[in-house]
């Protein structure tokens, strides 16, 4: 399991310290499907980066008892001056996976064709999302952390993501950050709402939505 205990996070801005997360607690068990709702700038991405370990909390503890992916988003995690294939090789190397064994899968899933051999900064947002998702599915994790990325792209991409994530990897834990309420309702078994730095956990997904709706007003 992954457990966050009393996480506080401050960012230093020109006008002093700004608190992004305020004593956040969250526990993710094997196979959990958790949706995190919050408006723009609520700190969802910061939270997911802290879960993954890419960012350190200002104080509090993160206990990581299972492997967690990097935050799968449509920006970041890739070097945009390098080609898709070089990025795949880099990521395979740091996670200790043989890159050759993954090229076919990534090529097939991402549908990038010749573009796989072009620098990422020539890609459209949809192409980046396809590559990002394909590469992340090439490395096995106990828990996948998904920051919006599945909600972009066309229906063909959505269908492929659904098969890879919810059918082939149904046993894995998932944390999905989104403001697409429908997507979270469809795929998550519980949800949490991030408002003003505080994370409100709910067992029932409907309660979470009610709270989210009222916090928007």
């Amino acid at each position: 399991m992954i457990r966050l205990e009393n996480i506080n996070k401050f960012y230093h801005t020109r006008r002093g310290a700004r608190q992004i997360l305020n004593s956040v607690n969250l526990s993710i068990e094997h196979g959990d499907k958790i949706g995190i709702l919050g408006r723009n700038g609520a700190g969802k991405s910061t939270l997911i980066r802290i879960i993954s370990g890419a960012e350190q909390p200002s104080d509090g503890r993160v206990h990581r008892g299972m492997s967690a992916s990097w935050p799968i988003a449509y920006t970041g995690a890739f070097q945009s001056a390098l080609t898709g294939i070089d990025n795949l090789r880099f990521i395979c190397r740091i996670y200790g996976v043989d890159p050759k064994s993954r090229i076919d899968f990534v090529q097939q899933f991402s549908d990038l064709g010749e573009y796989l051999y072009e620098p990422i900064n020539t890609y459209s947002a949809g192409m980046r999302a396809r590559l990002g998702f394909a590469v992340s599915m090439s490395i096995e994790f106990d828990c996948f952390l998904i920051d919006e990325v599945v909600s972009v792209g066309d229906s063909r991409f959505h269908e492929k993501c659904r098969v890879e994530l919810f059918e082939k990897r149904a046993d894995r834990a998932l944390v999905i950050v989104s403001h697409d309420a429908g997507y979270i309702r469809e795929h998550c078994t519980r949800a949490a709402v991030l408002v003003q730095g505080q994370l409100h956990n709910f067992d029932e997904i409907d309660q979470a939505f009610e709270f989210y709706e009222s916090s928007m007003r």
Binding site: A54, W70, F90
Partner: protein
């Protein structure tokens, strides 16, 4: 990481550390040199061209003094040393920003990114020095080093100096842009004081006392003592640059710890 002992967790961390550094090295070579023309050979061809140019200049101007000093060896050791300690900080300052996207991966740390660049820089300077030495020796422009181990020791201490200075400046540069602005003039001004273009022996006594506070002077003297020590009287104390290096390394690691807690992947 939950491990029974520090040793066990260190042993578990080592393969990850090696994988990450290896991957970062490959990536660094690709982004810096690409796959065009001679590619990564630029790593040492570039410093070689610098050293060749300076050696040619110094040989031409130095020849008129009519000294008994082996001027080619003098220029080669001097300028190679400058490249070693000066390029490391230059390549490390601001190295974090272009790599922020890679920090999405938990195992990639600020220190790894800097170490990968420093390893490349150190390898480039070392290969350039070695290849030029071998070429000059084979065409008999210079004599082989009199004490190779002493050359290697001096070179290693100087490399350590470059690495620790680079790590400290890179960490400080993350907190303030002034570091980047000041480094370039500072590097330019320190160059004549670093021992590359003089021997301590030929200076007046009070200048000697002052210059021996500069750690690079000790290393350069040491390298030259190993190369052509019988031709001049070298002045150096190996323990002095070593102590300076240790202090710099400690300060650098402390600063880096602070920086890596605050870095935000992009």
């Amino acid at each position: 990481m939950a491990a029974d002992s520090t040793f066990a967790s260190l042993r578990a961390a080592w393969p990850i550390q090696r994988r990450v550094l290896g991957a970062l090295l490959m990536r660094e070579v690709l982004t810096r040199y690409g796959r065009h023309n001679i590619g990564f050979l630029w790593l040492f061809v570039e410093p070689m061209l610098f050293t060749l140019g300076v050696t040619a200049l110094w040989s031409l101007t130095g020849a008129s003094h009519g000294t008994s000093l082996p001027i080619v060896s003098f220029a080669l050791t001097g300028y190679s040393s400058v490249l070693l300690w000066r390029n490391m900080p230059s390549r490390s300052i601001g190295a974090v920003k272009p790599n922020l996207s890679l920090m999405y991966h938990r195992q990639v740390k600020v220190l790894d990114i800097l170490l990968a660049r420093l390893m490349l820089e150190g390898a480039g300077a070392t290969i350039s020095f070695t290849v030029l030495s071998l070429i000059f020796i084979s065409i008999e422009w210079i004599q082989p080093p009199e004490d190779l181990l002493l050359v290697i020791a001096g070179w290693a201490i100087l490399a350590w100096f470059g690495i620790s200075l680079a790590l400290l400046l890179a960490a400080l540069a993350e907190r303030s842009e002034i570091v980047d602005k000041l480094w370039h003039p500072a590097a330019y001004l320190i160059f004549p004081l670093s021992g590359a273009a003089f021997l301590v022996e030929i200076l007046p006594k009070n200048a000697q006392d002052f210059l021996l506070y500069v750690p690079m002077v000790h290393c350069t003297e040491m390298i030259r003592d190993g190369y052509f020590g019988s031709k001049f009287h070298a002045h150096y104390t190996p323990s002095y640059p070593i102590v300076i290096n240790a202090v710099l390394t400690l300060l650098a690691l402390a600063q880096l710890r602070k920086v890596s807690r605050e870095v935000i992947p992009e």
